[in-house]
Amino acid sequence: MLYAIIVFNLLSLVFFYPLMVKKAWRELSGPLLILIIANLYAFQYHLDISIIPNPGNLATKLQPLAKAMARFFQLN
């Protein structure tokens, strides 16, 4: 994952550079926010910690509902 983090961050910088030169901070803020969130999740996975919730947690929590649905519809 570390290599992916480096590659995606470097490539993002290449795309951000023209905006930084133009000082288009408003145009930059959205993509930068997405990049930060992506980095947080990437590091969370890389360091094997669980601080920020992710869709997988929700899927696990919804398992009883899925089991109830399977029981109701007599699915395997």
Binding site: F15, I34, P55, L75, N76
Partner: protein, 357 residues
């Protein structure tokens, strides 16, 4: 702005629906009557597609996020667009996860993270020049995909055993349940392509093309369901992770071996087309949310977000199958139905009050 034709959107819809559903067969949990479940799912999808097309007809030239804000108001519209963003993110990470699981059976020794990075970077490369390239790619993919599907289906029908598909509709409850699963993946996902509607130059004149290609995708998936049930049987389906791939593995022709690898191209093309479409729709959604003039700076960060979220949410296939796979229906189907239905009702009410938005 108008960079696509209805024909290309129809091709994109066809490729997107086949996406990962062609190989994974989500409704196979039912075993018997699998193909009936596919029919039910496709009817739900058809209804959602029709609602989406009607909404677009009421607000020509506007995309679904703009329509949400026009009909529901700025704040409520933004909340609903966040629900849409959530749906798109979930679909994107599930699709990339499916692609990884499948690719790992072919590229056993290649690190998974390398494959995922390459897929997302390839997707970024294709969508960078604009949506027209996506349309051209769909033009390019459609013929080989149809030929490979036809070839695969025709050759595998020699293995079809009629007794495997009987009895039909012995128990209706599981069929309804599997129909819901099928409606969730892939059929309800058609609503995401509503984001592309304003880019279609001949939308009003040729929108029937969208329905035609949706119908063709549904028929393809119904035949696939019949085929895998007829070839593998109820017991075989229980053990199969990639049912259609397993069917293709059984094909024998003289001394040729491993003919299923010939069809690998088919699965890669449909998976790639679906990932590209979702990546692009996510970017368009975020471009709207952040009110950006140009979305190009979003391409790489969004690709990275899909990859990072996918690994963090679903790190292992075994864990996914054991405790997450069956509940993904609740992450995708309710937001899809809620989003499009609420906008539809609001659009109808608003349009009745003032017919010219």
């Amino acid at each position: 702005m108008k960079e696509l034709y209805s024909r290309q959107l129809g091709f994109m819809l066809f490729l997107y629906i086949l996406g990962s559903a062609l190989i994974f067969t989500p409704e196979s949990i039912i075993g018997q009557d699998l193909w009936v479940a596919t029919i039910l799912g496709s009817l739900v999808g058809l209804l959602l597609l029709h609602i989406t097309v009607v909404i677009q007809g009421l607000y020509p030239g506007k995309d679904i996020m703009q329509i949400a804000e026009l009909t529901l108001g700025k704040i409520l519209g933004k909340i609903f667009n966040l629900i849409f963003l959530w749906l798109l993110l979930i679909l994107a990470i599930l699709l990339l996860f499916d692609a990884m699981v499948f690719l790992q059976i072919i590229y056993i020794t290649t690190p998974e993270i390398l494959l995922a990075t390459l897929i997302m970077l390839a997707s970024a490369f294709v969508i960078y020049p604009g949506i027209a390239v996506g349309g051209r790619l769909a033009d390019l993919f459609i013929l080989p995909v149809i030929l490979l599907i036809a070839l695969g289906f025709v050759t595998s029908f020699t293995l079809f055993n009629y007794s495997n598909i009987t009895p039909i509709l012995a128990n209706i409850k599981p069929v309804l349940g599997a129909g819901l699963v099928s409606a969730s993946w892939p059929f309800s996902e058609v609503i995401i392509l509503a984001v592309f509607f304003p880019f279609v130059a001949d939308f009003d004149r040729n929108k029937k093309q969208i329905y035609i290609w949706y119908g063709l995708a549904s028929i393809t998936l119904i035949i696939r369901s019949l085929l895998i049930l007829g070839v593998l049987g109820y017991k075989g389906l229980e053990l199969a992770r990639f049912p259609l791939y397993d069917v293709f593995r059984l094909i024998e022709y003289q001394d040729f071996q491993r003919l299923e690898l010939f069809f690998f191209l088919l699965f890669i093309m449909t998976l790639t087309a679906a990932i590209l479409a979702l990546h692009k729709v996510l970017i368009l959604n975020l471009e709207h949310m952040f009110a950006l003039k140009n979305s190009r700076s979003l391409i790489i960060p969004v690709g990275f977000l899909i990859l990072a979220l996918m690994y963090d949410s679903f790190p292992s296939d075994i864990e996914f199958l054991a405790s997450q796979a069956s509940s993904t229906i609740f992450l995708t189907l309710p937001p899809a139905i809620l989003y499009i239905t609420v906008i539809f009702i609001a659009a109808k009410i608003k349009h009745r009050k003032s017919p010219h938005p």
